[in-house]
């Protein structure tokens, strides 16, 4: 059985974003998810940072202070090998859930 709570999907979104962008700060992650989902999903800033911290403590991502293009100091996150594995797992389980939910919906229609 897959985990599919909200926290699970937030983790998935963050991991995917960091993996696609290579290296990104928190604000960038918020923007990217918003843009990539055609403004359908918006990440609550209040939940993002606890999640980032938890993922860092779990060893899925690493952080580093760097300068942005506009010369501002920001904390950049990047995926670790463990994070890569976690991402794959989260992606699979999410797809399972989607499949399951879709099947249920289809069944209800028919």
């Amino acid at each position: 059985m897959a985990k599919n709570d909200l926290q699970g999907s937030l983790d998935l979104l963050v991991l995917k974003t960091v993996s696609q962008m290579g290296e990104l700060h928190g604000y960038g992650i918020v923007l990217h998810i918003q843009r990539a989902s055609d403004e359908l999903l918006s990440v609550e800033e209040g939940s993002l940072y606890p999640a980032l911290h938890r993922m860092e403590q779990s060893g899925w991502i690493r952080s580093e202070w760097k300068l942005t293009e506009t010369n501002r100091k920001a904390k950049y996150y990047r995926l670790t090998a463990a994070g890569q594995k976690e991402l794959r797992k989260a992606q699979e389980s999410f797809e399972q859930v989607v499949k399951g939910v879709r099947a249920v919906l289809r069944h209800a229609q028919g």
Binding site: E45, H53, Q57
Partner: protein, 957 residues
Amino acid sequence: MSVLRRIANLFHRSKLNEDIEAELGSHIEMRTADNIAAGMSPKEARRDAHLRFGNRGAMKERVIAADAHTLLDSLWQDLRFALRMLRKSPGFTAVAILTLALGIGANTAIFSFIDAVLLRVLPVRDSQQLVLLRWSAHAKPKIHGSDGYGDCDDNARDGACNFSLSFFKTIRAENNAFSGMAAFAGPIDVDLSGDGAASIAQGTYVSGDFFSTLGVNAFIGRPLSPADDNLSAPPAIVLNYAYWVQAFGGDRSVIGRTVRLDNTPATIIGVADPHFTNLTPGKPQDFFMPISLVNRVRDQWAGHAPYLTDAGTWWLVMLGRLTPGVSVGQAQAAATTIYRNEMLHGATPAFKEADAPEIRLEPARTGLNGETSRFAPMLLLMMIVVGFVLLIACANVAGLILARSATRQKEMAVRLALGAGRARIIRQLLTESVLLSFAGGVLGILFSVWGVETIGKLLTRGDQPFPFVVGPDWRILAFTIAATFATGILFGLAPALRSSRIDLTPSLKESASSLPESAAYTGRFFRLGDALVVAQVALSIIVLIGAGLLVRTLQNLRDINPGFDTRNILLFAIDPNIAGYSDAQIQQLYGNLQERLAALPGVISVSYSEEALLGGGWFGTEIHLDGAPPKQDITNLKQLPVGLNFFSTMHIPILSGRAFTSADFAAAIANNAAAAAWGTLARANSASPSASSSAAVASAREAYDHAAPTPVIINEAFAKKFLPDRNPVGMHIGGGQWTDNDVQHPSPGYAVVGIAGDTKYAQLTADTGPILFLPIVGNSAHFELRTAANPAVMVKSVREIVSRAGENLPLTEVRTQTEQIDRLLFEQRMLARLSGFFGVVALVLACIGLYGLLSYEVARRTRELGIRMALGAQTRDLLRLVVGQGILLVFIGTVIGIAAAMGVTRFISAMLYGIHANDPATITGVAILLTLVALAACYIPARRAMKVDPMIALRYE
């Protein structure tokens, strides 16, 4: 790793805070910049950026919590949850805690004794620097006398730890390896009289540097110093703290007071530090006196031995304190050089070159083992027994938790389904079990306090209390804590691992009580539950068989016929020697006492002997059978000097001839006096030889040689062994002829006047061997009073009579003959009682385990049982079903237990008497006992099964 980092983060909270603050700050800056770019006013842009975070303080806390949460926080959560779960099932919790408390308490109690006997450090400064000197050689030393007081192991192979005073002085002067050396010997019984009545106190001779070398200070006054070693120094003693409190009421004015030690006045100059109870474990003393007093205050057995001057009289135990920087090996080599030189080339060489005499150094703590070796085997055996009990308790509680976890599997399934990790569930369950064992540990400490007191009483041997101080210390605390946590994890782990591996679907679908038997989960659970019950049964069988053997041993020992009537005899000892009586005075005193005591109402007859029968000690002598080749002696023959009426008082039959009469005693006294006169003259002559004194010696010897043989009584075993096929009455037996001198001048020897029935002498377990009874002459004696009723009530009037008969005559070892025998058997009695107690505990625990398993079974199978009944099963069938399962487990456990016991019990065969380690009767008896009790344990759940109402059971869903 991450755990450590999280903990580290907890301590770097302020740094973490700063970090988060900076990160959020940069986020807000970027958002604000973007907002402005999108056309907001700067104020609005900043407000929006802030608003998106909601409550920033709360969020920061959440970030920090993400660190700490998973560890400490959840630990607290686990703990609270565990408490709640335990409170929800008070019955289970109570049984589990009690069981664990019993196991942990028993282990703590026994460990307290092991700690006291085997693990305590010596109560001296820097005890690790203190070493004991032992000598060893390939041959026995050629010396005049060798005394030991049981401070260290001494045997032919490893030598011993006694030295002469002159060697002590030599090595102390010549070595550089020790920064200090000390010598001591004793303790011996001393008649100590001050203001009040005389009493026997235990005094140890110590060298003047004893206290400074050990680093022991005086509590009040001063310790002995090297100046006290001078023969001309005024005699001074230092009291042991406990003795000071007990005998002098802790009165500080004792310093400077004069007491009499065997009639020698000595001044009390100090009281030793309270921590310094004794040096050799289990050998306490009441006071310390300088070695220089040995000629004035000495043991009655010491005779005239030249302790102070003779290099061939070995009696002192030596300790050295290693000089810092000198290794044990270096010190050993240095000491060996000095020893070898003294022993081979000194004034009185004791060894030859080929004997390779050497000194070995041992840490003082292990070298001075004293009474340790007597108690250690018993205590270690008990430790193993209580270890088994703790294992049974663990298996028991594990079984209870397992049964309970089955009812909790829905809870576990829900938690797993909600995303709890397996590790998290295991941790939760382990928290519960450690909490249980912690409660058990706390209660167990209370149990152990009671246990220590009870076992302490069992270890008391008559009026001799257990010679070690048992008290809590950090080792016991550490042991209990370790035992508690190990227990919690041991019994918690198996059920926890099992529970976390639930197959979710059936668990969520079905209620626990209706789980089908075929479910994979239940199959596994019951194999584990069964195994736990089998293990408990097997372990308790081992404990019970061990206990059975020890109890039977005690019984066998009690059933031994000692050859005399042990009922209604009161015993007490007096030693007129140390009160300064001469042999003739003693003889008169004894006769006097005998008469007055016999006149007491309720006393049937009175006698006395040098040793009490079954007192543990015996005297040996040599005889020379008439007609045997010269110097072919019978050595180590047991002899017992007895008083008038001894045989009639003890109810020992005289099989032929007669008992002793007053005339026999007169003859013995005359012979003894003749021998003593000769000895005195000979000593004087050898000190200052002259023609006249050697003539006196010759005539004294002549008189002794021609004295009439001393009348003796032999026992039946003596007659059968040494004088078979003859009537021994009237026969002559020669005294020992072990030197040429003896051959030339044979002593008057003995004339057999009677044959007594066989009796045991020193020990119950020893074979009834030959005994030579002689008329007693002088010396200390044990009186025997044969009374009409309970002898214990006579004690007061006996004391009065003795104190009226002579001053300074302390009564010691007042006890009845049965108490005396109990004292001999105290080890066996303690082992039998303790192991019996723990055997019963093991049995009860195993049966609780069995009962718990079957009760759960019945509850779980209610529906199945209902269906069976509905289909026509008789109550008898159900009974058989439930009881059958229980008995099968018991049977398997019993077989395994017996097999294991047969391998294990041989380790205690040295402690058994009259019974084989694999005694079939004991094994069968234990198996039957366990089966019967187990049947009772099965019967209660089985009755519940029979009362299942099929209608209710089927409606249960």
